[in-house]
Amino acid sequence: MKTAVKPPGSDTARPTDGARPAHRLPFWVNQQLGLLVLIVVLAAVFGTLRPAFFNERLVLFPLLRDVSTLTVVALAQMVVLSIGHMNLAVGRMAAFGAFFAGFGYDRLGLPLVLGLVLCLVAGAAVGALTGWIIARTGVNSFVVTLAMDFALLGLVPLLYSACTENAAFTTRPAGLAELRSSSLADICLGPVCGSPAVPQVAQFTVLALAGLAFLYYRTRTGRELLLTGANPAAAELSGIPTGRRVVLAHALSGTLAALAGFMAAVGTGTFRASIGDDFMLPSFLGAVLGGTLLTGGAVSVVGALLGTTLVGVIRKGLDLLGVGLESLNIYLGCVLLLALSADRVRTVVSYRKVVRST
């Protein structure tokens, strides 16, 4: 033990543990930077092959609207991943939240903002309930959120059929249509107008990103969430209220999921039970590609945005190249596996280096 060296890239004695935090890697293999470069290169390639790729209104606007929504979905997953949990029910929580927004507009005649608030509160409540069950019983989050997914999968359509005739709310409060179709081009500071490519719903995404970045990088609560994920036993002994942090993480996840549900509903213009059906896959894709660990203890807020953007760009680009919807998933799956394999190779290489130098 006397030659206790501390090489910069060393790992613990568990080389079998999947991904690892990115901050110890030299900057040129930094995951976020890699993603950014990949996105720029791919966008350039697609743009060269199909100049229509840069059409602001027809291509970039819908692309960014999807990316905005799915980034929030990825963030919802990232928050629970940060404590080493999973949320399989993101999609259904989104549907649950969206129901309440629709209910508020249709039945209570709420204005736009209040409906959104109701939606977020509903999401937070169902998330907190999930978190509370997990914290109290200690049952694996995978199972609990799976059961929650089932329950909401049944409950949401029941709620819709109880409150509506045709299983959807179509009442649109003032401002919703504008929110759906307007972009930064509609906001002008004197003669300077924004880009028509950036949709206005992106404001929610930006708010969520900023809020989470502040939470994780600046505050006590964020740090406590991360440490709860890194080692719950040590966190408890260090005076962190791990039970409350678990509830908080799930409540946040529910809130973000509900926000994503609201954004998706704004995108389509109707509030229906099928919102969020296809959220689970992008939620993991975005978070994991962005560098968030499944084991907890490390998150990347910007990574979630970049990961989702990469997926969106690939999807759109391949679509424009005429690859056809059916094959898109094949490529996306390959990208996910390749990206993670590359990360794995780096881990093994650096582990070997450390052992050799000891």
Binding site: M1, K2, T3, A4, V5, K6, P7, P8, S10, D11, T12, A13, R20, P21, H23, R24, F214, R218, T219, R220, T221, G222, R223, E224, L226, L227, A230, N231, A233, A234, A235, E236, L237, S238, G239, I240, P241, G297, A298, Y351, V354, V355, T358
Partner: protein, 514 residues
């Protein structure tokens, strides 16, 4: 009989950050019982894992009857006639006793498990240990001691020429241990070489012929006849002269001061009965006991992790009801340096700065819980400097540090919180000799500064070096108290006597199950 079955020749094994074995030699002769001794972290378990094919050595040779062999897997080792009982539990909880015993080589016909053929050899192995167990019972239903014995039966099943026993008696009663020793003697007569690892030197001197002592990853005594040594010589070799009981700057305790922590007649759900103790400012109270005596469990109950069913806890004279470690820290100022560093102490994959400041975020937090990273770094840097933690930077992950430095990080978080009472649980397990000494001085200085400290340790030398008085715990009760006169022989005699006085009747009572 000087028939060498297996020989290790300058084995080196490196883990990231640690040279666990640094040129160790070991000669195993037929028909002998070989003691492998050393303190925690000296490399015994690593050596055993190298011999049994779990780890491949980075350098050095393994010779079987003079021929070099390469063990790539535990299966290779079994085939080479090397059997082992590891320190960790290595049973499949859902399988039956018989199936666990025959796991390495299950009797089968055309790929089908032959359960009937499994029972007979299992029963034979169990009978050899004098164990009356139904071979069909699932292992998860057995007590810890029974599981330990099943593991030994499992090692007997392979009929190895070399059998390594790593702390086989840690959870056995004296009778069960005696049975095991009979088996060991029988195996020896049959020409097997048994390598015996134990902390209990009495056992070692009762059954072993030769001895190898490891210290700090090297063999300081290699395959020497045990009869040439007495216990004290071996202890001296194990700990190294420089850190046998050391004298420190004198320190006085005011015996009339109000106790910082006082337990009276405490009963807990974990099984403690009528535990009373007082810790005064500036005092180091030692809580000594064998593994499983219930020392850490007592602290966890006090911290609110287990239910306290009776008695009273007073902090600074006021009755206290502590419901969680958080309350213990923030309301009562009690810090607990856990024995289980990797699982409960440090966050291995997190930066050092977070590891240290986790206890003070509450104090550092400003509006909206915002924490200035400068304030955070200042706190951490100050402690890193004070404790002399060797780091490359505060952003380094704690898992990259050596054991001793990790332990310092673990301590630093309690010093950062400026706790008014510190419980230190096995502080120097797996810590190298120099850091160990530094740690002792650190604890001593903290007490000199007026901090009350409860020291839990199985290391008698450490206890006698540091403690003002030693409480002896066995079977979840305090069995006696010895004021420390810093004289090793006298103290160890008294403490061992307290433990032994009651170990026999209790063991007889609690182990009537098999």
């Amino acid at each position: 009989m000087s028939d060498v079955l297996l020989e290790c020749d300058s084995i080196v094994k490196v883990f990231p950050g640690v040279r666990a074995l640094d040129g160790v030699g070991l000669t195993m002769t037929a028909g002998s019982v070989h003691a492998l001794l050393g303190e925690n972290g000296a490399g015994k378990s690593t050596l055993i894992k190298v011999i049994t094919g779990v780890h491949t050595p980075d350098d050095g040779r393994l010779l079987r009857r003079g021929e070099e062999i390469h063990l790539r897997s535990p299966l290779d080792a079994t085939r080479a006639g090397i059997g082992v009982v590891h320190q960790e539990r290595n049973l499949i909880p859902g399988f039956s006793v018989a199936e666990n015993i025959t796991l390495q080589n299950p009797p089968s016909r055309r790929g089908l498990v032959d359960r009937d053929a499994m029972t007979a050899p299992a029963e034979r192995c169990l009978a050899e240990l004098g164990l009356d167990l139904d071979p069909h019972r699932p292992v998860r239903e057995l007590s810890v001691a029974q599981q330990q014995l099943v593991e030994i039966a499992k090692a007997l099943y392979t009929e190895s020429q070399v059998l390594l026993l790593d702390e086989p008696t840690a959870s056995l009663s004296p009778q069960e241990a005696e049975h095991l020793f009979d088996v060991v003697r029988r195996l020896k007569e049959r020409g097997t070489c048994v390598v015996f690892v134990s902390h209990k030197l009495e056992e070692v001197f009762a059954i072993c012929d030769t001895v190898t002592v490891l210290r700090d990853g090297r063999s300081v005594l290699e395959s020497a006849p045990l009869s040439d040594y007495v216990q004290d010589d071996v202890v001296t070799l194990m700990v190294g002269r420089q850190h046998s009981v050391t004298d420190m700057t004198p320190r006085t305790v005011d015996p009339t001061a109000r106790p910082a922590l006082s337990l009276s007649g405490l009963n807990t759900a974990a099984g403690h009965r009528d535990v009373s103790l007082d810790i005064r400012p500036g005092e180091i109270v030692g809580l000594y006991g064998l593994v499983g005596a219930g020392r850490s469990e007592l602290v966890k109950a006090v911290l609110g992790l287990d239910r306290v069913t009776g008695g009273e806890i007073r902090v600074d004279g006021e009755p206290a009801r502590i419901r969680s470690p958080r309350e213990a820290l923030h309301t009562y100022g009690i810090g607990y340096l856990t024995e289980n560093r990797k699982e409960e102490g440090v966050f291995l994959e997190q930066p050092i700065v977070r590891n240290i400041t986790v206890t003070v975020w509450k104090k550092l937090a400003r509006f909206l819980g915002d924490i200035s990273s400068r304030a955070e770094k200042d706190v951490a840097q100050d402690l890193v400097d004070r404790l002399g933690i060797r780091v490359s930077g505060l952003a380094q992950n704690a898992g990259e540090l050596s054991g001793g430095n990790q332990q310092k990080v673990s301590l630093a978080k309690w010093l950062a919180a400026e706790t008014r009472l510190l419980v230190v649980d096995e502080p120097t397990v797996g810590v190298d000799v120099r850091t160990k000494h530094a740690f002792h001085e650190l604890i001593w200085e903290l007490a000199r500064g007026g901090l009350p400290i409860l020291l839990i340790s199985s290391d008698l030398t450490e206890m006698i070096t540091l403690a003002d008085r030693v409480l002896v715990m066995a079977d979840h009760r305090i069995r006696g108290e010895v004021p420390n006169d810093h004289d090793y022989d006298n103290m160890s005699g008294q403490i061992i006597r307290i433990i032994h006085d009651r170990a026999h009747p209790a063991a007889a009572a609690s182990n009537g199950t098999p």
